[in-house]
Symmetry: C2
Subunit: 374 residues, 2 copies
């Protein structure tokens, strides 16, 4: 376990790699960020067009908690009271609200995260005046529940997890998440469960923390990945009754409400998109995982096979996951990826490849050729 | 001058009045909140539809600072470096960022506002851990620069003003704003100038604080009112060079970026909407001001004539601006408005009527009949 007040977070590093790749003279396969490259549901486009023809009143402030047709649909699908749901500006704002309200209870100033971790969590903690504690995951990329329990104390305000996990691809077991909810309850902390990749479970084991039905749990997610619309910025959080009012107040003071055209489009997409859409995206990703890892096998590299989400961590011999090495791959292999060091220490020997491109086989061939030629 | 840690803010009170009016059996003219009732520019609707037909890549994360076609257009129109502009989730987020970064400089924890004041400013201050100082405006509804100067000290982190002003309708003189920028510079504070009503200047005197070209000034605004789209949540802030990076970091950690469909629609509207659109909306509002105040004259009520924005404050004899009296007007006069007490003490004898309805004459007649019959 390591303490850190590191306030680095993903975006600028993302940007640096993306800009570096964009400035390259050569063709580069982009596997840096989690931008879906697949087609959004047809109903989403249609919903946006239908919204564009609405009357002026439909262009005005939506309810701060979200438009009823979206919030209601979410509550029904998730089997929760509508009063516990707040539609947010992506999972980012949902996590911000969850972490801020956990800290605002005056029940501790520490936020416990895993290592590796999506860098926005520690960045947000520092911004909110909290202290970050990072707890390394196990060798299998799964959360180490015993180590999390040992780290937790009365100073713990929140435990933040992400399952299916970015970057390890682990899908945490229901038992692990329940145990972490127990830990949170024991020390009067909040378990914030970011489930933004919930539609990308290849293990068949994913269960939402909402099914635990606990008072100390905030569940956050977004439609960014599920509907292929990271730019729409529509997410939501399900808060326990005790925290929803404070969360809505903060949401109102920061954002007032969430952009209505995007809310209307997502509501239409939710209503009208058949399950086959989601299955077909999952099938595409399954194929990409297979193609990419088969080629990595051929290259003799060590890698993680994602149980969920759409990232593969790869370890090449004597080639740590630094920004410098990632730039080298752009220049010399024509593949752009994220340094594992961006996520902490545990995977700093690794490089994260995102499967949001239909050129994963080409990327794998380029990597194989590059490391073969070294 | 009065100190207050009051964390009330407008939205819930708005909601309560709106819900009360909606639940009424009788027909009610709604003059509560600043929801434009006029048609948005045609190019906005077309821009949204064109966006809906874009490729999947155009549906993904926009740059955190805003899409280039919008940010660039803003910078050019405002005559500022593009690097100082951040597109925000409405003026709400712009003000949140301005106030948060003012406080985060470790140069004081007090935020000075006027009284009356748009209640989000004190609410946000309290949320951010700052202390609010309210300085009454003059009898003419204009900021009292001398009193603001007297209130400012080294503990002042920010002075927040709104011009054209909600609720007094005052358009502050260039000299007043420059003097407040001087005060801010003298005590190492930030002047946050919320200019969200900049398109609604009937005085011909409004000049943006950007024209002062000062280091200690953050200018915030939005397209909510100018384009009649409060639900789109597209605003922006122009920061001094010294604060923009910190503001972008906070913006990223809270929201990542702003909803892209709305950004694309606003960029199209900015490019293609002729000046006649804005003039015609101003003409409509001018007519409404005249109609409404003429009827108030007939009713013998005291009122403010807005130099800018679209609110009229009215004082009826022995009828203070309480929530109770506002409910009485809904029930007995069929007109819904905002209690002046929601904005502080200075105008707590007044009631604020919003001119976002084409039934202002009817409302005025109803009010005249009601107070005549009392």
């Amino acid at each position: 376990m390591s303490d850190s007040d590191d306030d680095a977070y993903e975006e600028p590093l993302f940007q640096r790699v993306i800009e570096y790749a964009a400035a390259s003279d050569r063709d580069v396969v982009r596997m840096v960020s989690g931008h879906p490259d697949w087609e959004p549901p047809a109903a989403l486009r249609e919903g946006l067009k239908a919204y564009a023809d609405g009357d002026p009143e439909s262009f005005q402030y939506p309810p701060r908690e979200g438009i009823p047709e979206l919030r209601g649909e979410i509550a029904e699908r998730r089997g929760v009271e509508e009063s516990r749901v707040v539609v947010t500006n992506g999972a980012a704002e949902a996590n911000y609200l969850g972490m801020a309200e956990a800290l605002d209870r005056d029940a501790g100033s520490e936020i416990i995260v895993t290592d590796p971790v999506y860098p926005y969590y520690p960045g947000r903690t520092t911004m909110l005046g909290g202290e970050v504690t990072r707890v390394p995951v196990g060798d299998d990329g799964h959360v180490d529940v015993d180590a999390m329990r040992a780290a937790a104390s009365t100073d713990t305000a929140a435990i933040v997890i992400n399952t299916p996990n970015n970057p390890t691809g682990a899908v945490y077991s229901r038992e692990s998440v329940a145990a972490l909810a127990d830990v949170a309850a024991d020390v009067d902390a909040v378990l914030v469960a970011d489930e933004v990749y919930d539609h990308f479970d290849f293990s068949g084991r994913f269960e939402s923390a909402l099914t635990l039905d606990r008072d100390h749990v905030v569940v956050t997610t977004s439609f960014s990945k599920a509907l292929g619309i990271t730019g729409f910025r529509i997410g939501y959080a399900v808060f326990p009754e005790a925290l929803i009012e404070a969360a809505l107040t903060r949401h109102t003071l920061v954002n007032v409400a969430v952009s209505r055209p995007a809310q209307a489009a997502v509501a239409a997409a939710l209503r009208e998109t058949p399950p086959s859409y989601y299955e077909s995206v999952r099938d595409t990703l399954r194929d990409r995982i297979e193609e990419f890892t088969a080629a990595l096998d051929a290259a003799g590299a060590e890698y993680t096979t994602p149980e969920g989400a759409f990232y593969v961590l790869v370890r090449f011999d004597d080639f740590p996951g630094t920004l410098e090495n990632v730039k080298r791959l752009v220049d010399d292999a024509g593949v752009a990826a994220m340094p594992g060091a961006a996520f902490g220490e545990t995977y700093d020997e690794w490089i994260r490849f995102t499967l949001c491109t239909d050129r994963v086989d080409e990327a794998a061939d380029r990597l194989a050729a590059y490391f073969d030629g070294q």
